[in-house]
């Protein structure tokens, strides 16, 4: 063991030395980084509660996987509204339907004053929603499940209809004169993803093919898209279903020497920049910030004033087609994490 220790220590010492040399030689970056960000948002005020209603508790349970940028924005919208409405906001997520239902159950046990839930796998959530209703807890569904929301006894649904969003993509592709498109699905078996691609296929006059990639492995996404574009030079449009994959598709098209236009669902800072520079054609935004914000705000309105929105029909937050024209304005909002 003594020899092991010495070995490890030697390696450690060498590493520290290497690091010291690196740090000494190079030092700080005068461009970009945290300092630039701080300078940018020096005067962003954190809002205070705007109302004096009791401190109600709202729990939100989504089907998000770990580290999903989209759900991060939904959550930040909900938090913002909660701060304004003097609401104690709780958030939990699990991509397994059964686990998600159990999380809803635990919020019911906690006797929260309202629940926000996504219905990506509706059947699994049916029982949980019935229990919430029995316990007298108002429920608002967001994002997915517009068809089941009312049936399951939710107050209202806030979100985008995935098929309609897909159809909007097909129409936009027609408008741009595209003939052959590729739909990149980064999660095999996700119903919403299939609906988007199917919707786009429905309205698109040209030919559209699906391509499944492993979303948790960026180099795989890139090489798969690259491979398909090399095979079929007639593909003139690539549609990705999530913002982080748009930039990767641009790189893939570049190295495959393809002229295909890259379009995407959802927005983030990189996508906004890509739209501005012309690397990307258009983005279909469903305004995730709005979904979180509205859900919390509507629960507050319901508790305070018995208000309901939508009249039993889903309140749509998308699709909004974003092109170069709006990109510059939205880039700023995307940078602060609210678009």
């Amino acid at each position: 063991m003594a020899r092991v220790k010495t070995g490890v220590r030697t390696v450690g010492a060498v590493l520290v030395a290497v690091l010291g040399v690196t740090a000494g030689l190079t030092g700080c970056s005068s461009t970009g980084g945290k300092r630039a960000e701080d300078a940018r948002k020096a005067a962003t005020a954190q809002g205070k509660a705007a109302v004096n209603t009791p401190r109600w508790t709202v729990g939100m349970v989504t089907h998000s996987g770990d580290g999903d940028t989209f759900w991060d924005i939904v959550q930040s919208g909900a938090e913002q509204a909660a701060r304004k409405d003097n609401i104690n906001f709780l958030y939990a997520h699990d991509d397994e339907a059964q686990q998600q239902a159990q999380l809803v159950d635990s919020y019911i046990d906690k006797k929260v004053d309202g629940i926000i839930v996504t219905l990506a796998k509706p059947d699994a959530m049916k029982g949980a929603l019935a229990r919430a209703k029995k316990a007298g807890i108002p429920v608002i569904t967001v994002n997915s499940g517009s068809a089941e929301s009312k049936k399951f006894g939710a107050l209202t649904h806030i979100g985008q209809d995935e098929t309609i969003a897909g159809e909007a993509v097909g129409e936009e592709l027609n408008k741009r004169g595209k003939k052959k498109a590729l739909c990149i699905l980064h999660e095999q078996g996700n119903v919403g993803h299939e609906q988007r691609c199917d919707g786009a296929k429905k309205t698109f006059d040209g030919k559209m093919q699906n391509l499944y990639v492993t979303g948790t492995n960026m180099p795989d996404v890139q090489s798969s898209v690259e491979a398909r574009l090399q095979t079929d030079k007639s593909i003139d449009a690539v549609v990705t279903l999530g913002a982080p994959f748009a930039d990767t598709a641009v790189k893939a098209a570049d190295s495959a020497g393809s002229k295909a236009e890259i379009d995407t669902f959802d927005l983030n800072e990189t996508v906004a920049a890509g739209l501005k520079s012309g690397d990307l054609g258009f983005a279909v935004d469903q305004q995730p910030y709005l979904q979180g914000y509205q859900a919390v705000d509507l629960l507050w309105l319901y508790k305070y004033n018995a208000d309901v929105l939508g009249g039993g029909r889903p309140v749509l937050t998308g699709p909004q087609i974003i092109t170069k024209d709006q990109a510059a304005e939205l880039e700023e909002y995307a940078k602060r994490g609210t678009r």
Partner: protein
């Protein structure tokens, strides 16, 4: 090796070590032979099935896919020859990328400083795995499963805590980015075809790993430790040191992969990497490494990665119905592994 063995009597042919073997038989005994045959079979198959598979640019894409996998498969294979697993290898890649990115960004430091810190942190995690394994009783499967879960949580938790979002901020406008990109994510154009620099990293790792395995004392230790830990300890092999070293090797591979991830995509998603650890192990197994340790080669693991790259991209080139993508992948991998197994059996039988 200091003690001189008693010289065998001249003409004594009963000692198996003195039996002359033909070069062909020697070749048949190599662990990577099965995977090489499998790779050739897969290559020929897709050459016929998919028209565009043989284009130079397509081969560059396949090599890129194989190299990003192979950079991890080679050190993972060495670890498996040493008789251990590392289930944390997939998310460690993401950890490594996150550390460089966030350190540079938060400190507004030259990105090379972040890259250095990342190397330190990543190797420290490798040492942690190794020390935990050698100091305690549970098998590496459990230890690294623990590390896997901890890293997955820390990737997400720290990123959210420090950046405020689940992905890192772009560092592409920071000093040092361009030079670091040259090292980790450059595309080298040869004859109009762009080859990714990861291919060079991959080849370098194969050469270094093969040299260590076949030409150094450490290589003997690795085989000995994997073949039988107690026997190895009894003849004076530093078992703990060897294993910690192997985990550091995997960590080094994760560092290279992580830096590639960061510098080719500017930002890193904190949830990435889960599940990749199994693919590294699959590549090593296809390449002829025994799950039980003590047998295998770095070249084999690299060929395993190549097979995986050819199959996963070949399916795309062949334009097979993508609903069945994973199924095709599974069938191809099983066939490759079975062929590999069969060739090895034949080779051992003719010895």
């Amino acid at each position: 090796m200091t003690a001189t063995a008693p010289a065998p009597a001249p003409g004594d042919r009963t000692d198996e070590r003195l039996v002359k073997t033909s070069p062909l038989k020697k070749l048949m005994g190599r662990p990577e032979l099965g995977s090489v045959v499998g790779a050739i079979a897969v290559f020929i198959f897709f050459s016929f099935i998919a028209d565009s598979f043989l284009q130079a640019s397509s081969l560059a894409t396949v090599l890129y896919a194989a190299s990003t996998l192979g950079i991890m498969a080679v050190p993972v294979a060495l670890l498996m020859i040493g008789g251990e697993f590392d289930l944390s290898a997939g998310v460690l890649v993401t950890t490594s990328a996150l550390v460089s990115s966030m350190f540079s960004y938060q400190m507004t430091a030259n990105v090379w400083v972040g890259v250095g810190v990342s190397l330190l942190v990543t190797l420290a995690i490798g040492v942690f795995n190794g020390v935990m394994l050698t100091r305690t009783d549970p098998p590496s499967f459990i230890i690294t499963l623990g590390t896997f879960l901890m890293l997955t949580g820390m990737n997400l938790g720290f990123t959210k805590m420090i950046s405020g979002t689940v992905s890192t901020k772009s560092i592409s406008d920071m000093e040092g980015f361009t030079s670091a990109k040259k090292i980790f994510a450059e595309t080298i154009t040869i004859g109009g075809v762009g080859f990714k620099v990861t291919i060079l990293w991959w080849l370098a790792l194969i050469v270094v790993a093969t040299w260590i395995l076949l030409r150094t004392r450490v290589g003997n230790w690795i085989f000995a430790v994997g073949g039988g830990e107690d026997a190895a300890r009894a003849v004076g092999v530093p078992v703990a040191k060897t294993k910690i070293g192997l985990y550091m090797g995997v960590a080094f591979g994760a560092w290279i992969s992580g830096q590639h991830l960061l510098f080719s995509y500017d930002t890193v998603q904190s949830g990435e990497g889960v599940g990749n650890e199994l693919i590294y192990i699959v590549a090593a197994v296809i390449g002829g490494c025994l799950i039980t340790g003590g047998y295998g080669s770095a070249v084999g693991a690299a060929v395993g990665a190549l097979i995986f790259g050819m199959v996963s991209k070949g399916i795309v080139y062949a334009e097979w119905n993508s609903d069945w993508f994973k199924f095709f992948l599974g069938v191809m991998l099983l066939l490759a592994t079975l062929l590999n197994h069969w060739v090895r059996k034949r080779a051992e039988a003719t010895k």
